[in-house]
């Protein structure tokens, strides 16, 4: 059975657990780096990226998560998670995991009062997807290997690069589990390939 881990240092990790469970897969909260051994795919949730980064450092998660991804296992970053995956962050802010070839801008749509919901078409995943953007980042540019999945107002808000999936918005805050389902499928397929 496929087990998806949700990094549970801070933020909306319980909502992701619920969303994964709604797709019929098993989900566990990951609070210790040793738990990465027990999972097939990892979700890095929304929260405060600076807070999550501090806790990643303190509990020595950075290198183990990088290795987890480099071994071919899928990682899905939402909002703060997207920032943590990016190889370049606007304003010379520290790069975190840096595993995905994307350049991001933090709080790109503005402060909380500018936060919004909107309907999006996510290529190959879902049409008319209700996306919730909260002090959200967007992707300013992607490398050649990265596929753009969705744009809002011309800005890239979802992308995939091999085993890495990222979005600016919060799929865990609605009852629409199509994007989570897409990630679970990525994990299941990787499981099959890695088993060969």
């Amino acid at each position: 059975m496929t087990t998806i881990g949700v990094l549970g240092l801070q933020g909306a990790f319980r909502e992701h657990i619920r969303s994964v469970e709604a797709t019929g897969s098993k989900a566990i909260v990951v609070k210790r780096k040793e738990q990465l051994e027990e999972i097939d795919g990892l979700i890095i949730p929304g929260g405060e990226s600076t807070t999550i980064r501090r806790l990643i450092d303190r509990y020595e998660f950075l290198e183990p998560i990088r290795q987890f991804g480099e071994s071919g296992k899928p990682i899905f970053g939402t909002c703060a998670g997207l920032i943590l995956l990016a190889s370049e962050i606007d304003g010379s802010y520290d790069v975190h995991l840096g595993v995905m070839d994307i350049k991001v801008r933090r709080n790109a749509f503005g402060r909380q009062r500018e936060s919004f919901e909107a309907s999006l078409d996510i290529e190959g995943v879902a049409d008319d997807f209700n996306a919730v953007f909260i002090r959200a980042p967007y992707i300013e540019g992607v490398g050649g290997n990265t596929k753009v999945l969705a744009r809002y107002d011309g800005h890239i808000v979802a992308a995939q690069q091999d085993q890495y999936l990222a979005c600016s918005f919060h799929p865990e805050l609605t009852d629409d589990h199509r994007l989570t389902e897409h990630f679970v499928k990525m994990v299941e397929e990787t499981n099959k390939t890695l088993a060969l």
Binding site: Q10, K31, G47, E117, A118, V132, R135
Partner: protein, 294 residues
């Protein structure tokens, strides 16, 4: 087509703060210490609650200069307090771009009867509550986040514990009631019936509920998380301690790993003196901030 200021966007913002610590700060330097320590947000104030107590007189919204200074200093969300019922203070903070407003009993209420109608605003609000009646009234007025009132600025956790337990216990009680009993329960508690029905069905509040008012040590933060808090506000505790940097980091870690007692033991070593606390029975009725609103 996009929509700002929806319930989902406002409540969602508070969801992102879960498992985190929101720290009171009075200037840019403290805000940076808080951010560096891993705070999920800061509350920009002119004085921390302990100093508001000491100063006496009327406590109002902070000078906008301080709020702006803090907003420019950090990239994490910035909250600020408006007086209960003070529509204009709240509108001013919203216009400044503050990320969350605390309609707070720590400040002297501007209105002794009515709270702000918070669902008129694009900016989300957090409010204090001591029981399910207060919690549901605030939610129906439009609060997107709750916190215990506790007794701010005392460094004494006892009231926050009591308020968190009370809300949790009332939710458990509510789950066992039949629909006709809920109507009477709504009447007795001054709670909106439809909202009680929703909570009874879900088994939880529709918004997050943080702990606030008297958290002074990492162990206090852990205690509140164990009692079911979604996160903690630390007011006077951090910058009234001897070593704010260390203290702030310890509180953040104790909140994340609230059930790791060995770790909390380590975190609590050599923290220096915590803020001097106050015993509840020594407070006069006028000094009890929690009784300033219903």
């Amino acid at each position: 087509m996009s929509q700002t200021g929806t319930d989902r966007v406002k409540r969602g913002m508070a969801e992102m703060q879960k498992g985190g610590v929101i720290m009171d700060v009075v200037n840019a330097e403290q805000a940076k210490i808080a951010e560096e320590a891993g705070a999920v947000a800061v509350m920009a104030l002119e004085r921390v609650p302990a100093d508001i107590r000491a100063a006496g007189g009327v406590a109002r919204m902070a000078d906008p200069t301080i709020v702006e200074e803090v907003m420019n200093a950090v990239s994490i969300p910035v909250m600020a307090k408006a007086r209960i019922g003070h529509i204009t203070e709240a509108r001013v903070l919203e216009a400044m771009g503050v990320d969350y407003i605390d309609e707070s009993e720590v400040l002297t209420p501007a209105d002794e009867i009515y709270h702000i109608k918070k669902d008129d605003y694009t900016v989300p609000f957090v409010c204090g509550c001591r029981n399910l009646g207060e919690a549901t009234r605030r939610i129906r007025e439009g609060a997107s986040m709750l916190r215990t009132k506790g007794e701010p600025g005392t460094g004494n956790i006892v009231e926050a514990v009591s308020h968190m337990r009370q809300v949790q216990s009332q939710i458990r009680h509510l789950r066992g009631l039949s629909e006709d009993e809920v109507m009477v329960y709504a009447k007795e508690n001054g709670a909106p019936f439809d909202l009680l029905m929703e909570i009874r069905e879900e088994g939880r509040l529709p918004v997050v509920n943080f702990a606030a008012g008297g958290i002074a040590t990492p162990a206090d933060a852990s205690l509140m998380m164990q009692l079911g808090a979604d996160g903690v506000f630390v007011g006077s505790g951090i910058f009234k301690s001897n070593n704010p940097e260390k203290f702030a980091r310890a509180i953040v870690e104790a909140t994340t790993h609230y059930d790791d007692y060995k770790l909390i033991g380590e975190l609590s070593k050599d923290l220096g003196t915590a803020m001097k606390g106050m015993e509840m029975s020594n407070l006069t009725p006028e000094q009890r901030m929690q009784d300033r609103s219903q």
